[in-house]
Every structure is written in C-alpha cells, then in structure tokens.
C-alpha cells in the first residue's frame, strides 16, 4: 500500500498497453475490459453529497484493500495527489481524464473531491476507480488482443469485491449504473488499434460506418470525445443490456476485431505493393523529422511516431525496436515528459524537451537519414 504523500513508484514501469506483444500486436496495441458497479442503497456519484462520497470512498477503499485483488495493490487518494501524478495516471490509461481533474458529471472541476484509485503493481493490469461516474469502475488491460484474459481477471476481481459489498442490481435491468448506456452487464470490451494504413487509404471511414451499424463506438485513444492522434483508435461495444458478457466478449474478440485487423493488414499490403515508394518516403521523412527536430508538439510527435511504428512493423525501418516507438508514444505526453525531466515546464519548454527526448531515444540511425548538419 502506498499512502498519500509518498512518491508513486510506478512511473518507470512498462505500461501494459504499450508492451507491443501478444496476439495481433502489429495492429492491436492493447485490450481492455471495464465494469461499472454501484453500491446498493446509496445515491450515484453525481447526486451524492460530499459526505456520501466520502462514505462511498471509505467503503470501497476498505473493500478493495481487503479483497486480495493482486499481489501488490497500490491505493491512491486522488484528492490528495499532486496534479502531475494524476495526469501521469491518466496518460497511462489507469484513470480517466475526468477522474484526474476531479470533474463530477454536470459540475465544475473540483480537484479535492473525495475519489481514489487502486492499481495492481508493478504490472498495472488491474485498476479500480472510485467515485468516477459510478461508485466503482474496474478495468483490466492486456497487451495485444486478449479480451478473454482481461475478462477472466476482471470477473474474478469483481467476485472478490462483491463478496464484501452489496452492488445495486435489478432483476430486469441488471447492474445499475448512473448512465443508462452502461446498465445491464456494465461491461465495456474495447481494443486500442493502430490503423495508419486504413487512414492513409481513406478506408477508415468505411470501418467507422460499419462499426456504427454494428452498434460499436470508435473513439480516440482516451475514450469519449478524445482525438485519435497517432492513428490510434478505440473500438468498444455500446450495447450492455440484453447480451451476456460471454456474447459481448466473443463478438469483439473473435469476430469484430479480427475483421478490422484483417482490413488494416490488407491496406498495409496494398500500400506496400502499389505505393511502396510513397509509403517509404512518408515513413522515412517522419523518422527524419523526429531525429532532427528541435521543437515538437504532442500531436506532431504522435502523428510521426505512428508512421514510424508502421515502418517498424512492416520492416521498412530495421534499426528500431517496436517497444522503443511504443514507449515514446507514452512518454512524449506532457505529464510523462515533466516526470522524466523531474520539473514542471510550460508548453514552450516542453516542446524543446520533447524534441530532445525523442532524438535521444531514437538515436542517429544507422541505415538511412545521414545527418549532415540539417
């Protein structure tokens, strides 16, 4: 257990969603399952008073700590944590951006709202947010396409938590949630996909339309309302009522995701066969800019790294491990950047630090992009 005020140890660990291993890891960055749960007999978070939220936090914290969810579980009171730590957790997908800022649905940000998170360390595979939109939001993340592994873990964690807490459950509506879009199983199965070729060929819109027809949501990498910088998309089920977890899981794991992966691979092959020079040019330009730039915004970094990642996966860039690129996708973000520099920096300084960090991590290169003083 980590108590408030103590330094958080996890920021140097490899985050699960960027390990770059597992099934279909050329396209699928990570898999994630989320369960929304609420305690019986208490108002949902948005309607709860501050005292209620304190009470909910105490109940959940005690249960989470006692449930034996992981070999090592870290608990953080987010209302006591420095803003930079909260931002780092959000960048690592361990908490939502709303929870990081302390935004209650329908209200202004209040950084001192009672709320917290439990995280399994050092693997960061399991995290449980308390007092987000619902009392409890459990999530498990695995590298590659592994929704089944995610679900097994979260299902067991859910059982352990429920053994000591009463969930709000309705025989008709299932697990009751603050927003009716989550009611029923409360389960969201999602995968984070890297789809640069579908974007380049313009077919991404077709995938989006098809996804909508199948009641799936396609979003940016940080969920609802987020941008899909770096060609990273998140696909998840919208339906939670009327389909069992097993059905939802099988649909995503065995049908939908493999199909999208196949589309992306086909688009990559097509680009290689018919537009190889254009593709190589784009990828090596991206690498050249990353290796030479002195100022870099997050968006530009993500866009270029996405193209480089494609080059690495396709074997067009040989002197870079995929993990290096994946890791950069994480650490170029503002909070990680400041954590690594060990100081707070305004935006302008961050651009310089980001460019420096990227040059340092990517190295000068061996088989292309001679650096003749550019």
């Amino acid at each position: 257990m980590t108590e408030p005020g103590q330094p958080i140890k996890i920021f140097n660990a490899r985050t699960e969603w960027l390990r770059g291993e597992g099934l279909s890891c050329d396209v699928v960055l990570s898999s994630r399952v989320r369960l929304a749960r609420n305690l019986a007999g208490l108002p949902f978070v948005a309607q709860a008073t501050r005292t209620d939220r304190r009470h909910i936090l105490d109940l959940c914290r005690a249960r989470l700590v006692g449930a034996g969810l992981a070999k090592q579980l870290m608990w953080l009171n987010l209302h006591d944590a420095p803003p930079i730590d909260r931002a780092v957790l959000a960048e690592r997908h361990l908490i939502s951006k709303q929870l990081a800022r302390g935004v209650l649905p329908g209200r202004d940000a209040a950084p001192d709202e009672p709320r917290g998170v439990a995280i399994s360390i050092p693997d960061e595979r399991l995290s449980v947010m308390v007092n987000e939109e619902d009392h409890l939001r459990l999530q498990t993340i695995r590298t590659g396409l592994d929704l089944r592994g995610c679900f097994e873990q979260i299902d067991a964690a859910d059982d352990s938590i429920e053994a000591g807490l009463d969930y709000a459950f309705h025989p008709r509506f299932g697990y009751l949630t603050a927003c009716p879009t989550n009611v029923g199983t409360g389960a969201r199965f999602s995968v984070m996909l890297h789809l640069p070729a579908l974007r380049m060929t313009g077919e991404i819109d077709k995938v989006k339309n098809a996804a909508e027809d199948m009641s799936l949501a396609i979003r940016g990498s940080h969920g609802e309302g987020s941008q899909n910088t770096g060609d990273i998309f998140q696909i998840s089920n919208q339906t939670t009522l009327g389909k069992s977890e097993d059905v939802l899981l099988a649909e995503m794991q065995d049908e939908i995701v493999p199909r999208v992966v196949e589309y992306e691979r086909r688009a990559r092959t097509m680009l290689l066969e018919r537009r190889r020079t254009i593709l190589e040019d784009k990828i090596h330009r991206a690498l050249g800019v990353l290796r030479g730039a002195r100022l870099m915004t997050v968006d530009e970094a993500m866009t270029l790294l996405s193209q480089v990642r494609l080059g690495v996966v396709l074997g067009l860039i040989e002197d870079l491990p995929q993990q290096t690129v994946n890791h950069l996708l994480l650490i170029v973000q503002p909070a990680h950047l400041q954590r690594i520099a060990n100081k707070e920096m305004p935006q302008g300084a961050r651009r310089i630090a980001r460019a420096d960090l990227i040059r340092e991590r990517l190295g000068p290169g061996t088989n292309e992009t001679p650096r003749n003083g550019q």
Partner: protein, 194 residues
C-alpha cells in the same frame, strides 16, 4: 432508390445485423415510421434523450416525474443523462424502457452475470422475489449506515435508521431469510455457465 412501397424515394437506409445476418432496409420516411424504424437508432443515449424523450407522452403532459428516494426529477435526467440513484430505474421505468431498447440494440432485460449476494436463493419468478431482494438490500445498506452512525456517535440518526430497518423487516419477513441465506452462501460460487 425507391422505397419498398414503390411510391416515394427511400431516404431511410437501415442495415441491421442480428445474429450475424445482415438485413438491409431502404424506406421512405412514411414507411420507416410505420415499420418502427428510427433513423436515430444507435445514436448515443445523450442525443436520444434530448430528441426522443422531449417528444414522449409524459413530457407533453408536463408531468413532473420524481424519484421518491433521491428526488431526482426526470427533467434533470434528460439534461444530464445521469440518474440519481438505483431506485430511479424503478421510478422512471416506463420512460426509460423505450430509451434503453433503442440504445441497446433492442435489449430490454439483463442477460449475464448476477451478483451472488443480491441474488442468492433467487427464484425464477420476478416480482415478489425482486421486492424481497430490494428490501433485503435496503436493510443491509441501512445496517451499514447504522453502524457508521453508531461509530460516529450520531445516536439520533441511528435511532431513525433503526426504525426504518424495523419497518422494512416487518413488511416482509422473507427479506430477513433472504439476507441470512446470502450471508451463509457467500463462499459458494454459483455456476455462471448458463
């Protein structure tokens, strides 16, 4: 493209995937309405709430729907998209049902996992069991609150909670049995395969 009726231009195009089969429908607005197709199906619930609920019968009559437990009004739900407490689902069941159906591909009833504590000794019938379970849940939560109140030496509050528990227990003795059974059955993991 002409509508199935052959009279008007098809403006509503629906592709539905049910059990892996793709069904395409090309309809004019009149036929679409008659066949119950809503061009907005699949739209996030927050948008549905504003467009659909505002035109629902309850809204037209201007009835002020209020959840008796948390005092959340249906109007405020329409604005925020968030319910106030678990009991809102019962309080607004009639209004929520069509909304849920639209945003969950026609799903109306939960299928899948059930929490063991809330459903221990569950019969297959719905209403009486549901009522008993609800009361049992309330009682358990109240006991929790009672403990907290006692621990905080809020004796007046505790007395109020105790009265509430007594009232609930008297109204349904079965709920007592249910909660007893749950406590005993905690460790036995039910088969979730079905």
């Amino acid at each position: 493209m002409l509508c199935e009726c052959g009279e008007r231009e098809a403006t509503v195009h629906e592709v539905i995937i049910k059990n892996g089969k793709k069904v395409e429908k090309h309809l004019c607005e009149v036929c679409a309405k008659n066949q119950g197709f809503d061009p907005k199906a699949g739209v996030p619930i927050s948008q549905l709430i504003s467009s659909f609920v505002l035109s629902s019968p309850g809204a037209k009559q201007g009835k002020a729907l209020v959840c008796p437990t948390c005092q959340t009004t249906y109007d405020s739900f329409k604005q925020s998209g968030l319910l106030g407490c678990p009991d809102c689902y019962d309080a607004f069941e009639d209004e929520l049902s069509p909304l849920l159906e639209r945003s969950h591909e026609g799903g109306t009833h939960h299928v899948g996992k059930q929490p063991k504590r809330a459903t221990a000794k569950r019969g297959r019938g719905v209403d009486p069991v549901m009522e008993a379970r609800k009361r049992a849940e309330q009682i358990k939560q109240l006991r929790h609150q009672l403990d907290t109140a006692l621990a905080g030496e809020q004796y007046e509050k505790a007395a109020g909670i105790r009265d509430e528990i007594r009232e609930l227990s008297e109204s349904d003795e079965a709920s007592e049995e249910l909660s007893e059974g749950e406590r005993n059955g905690e460790e036995s993991r039910e088969d979730q395969a079905s």
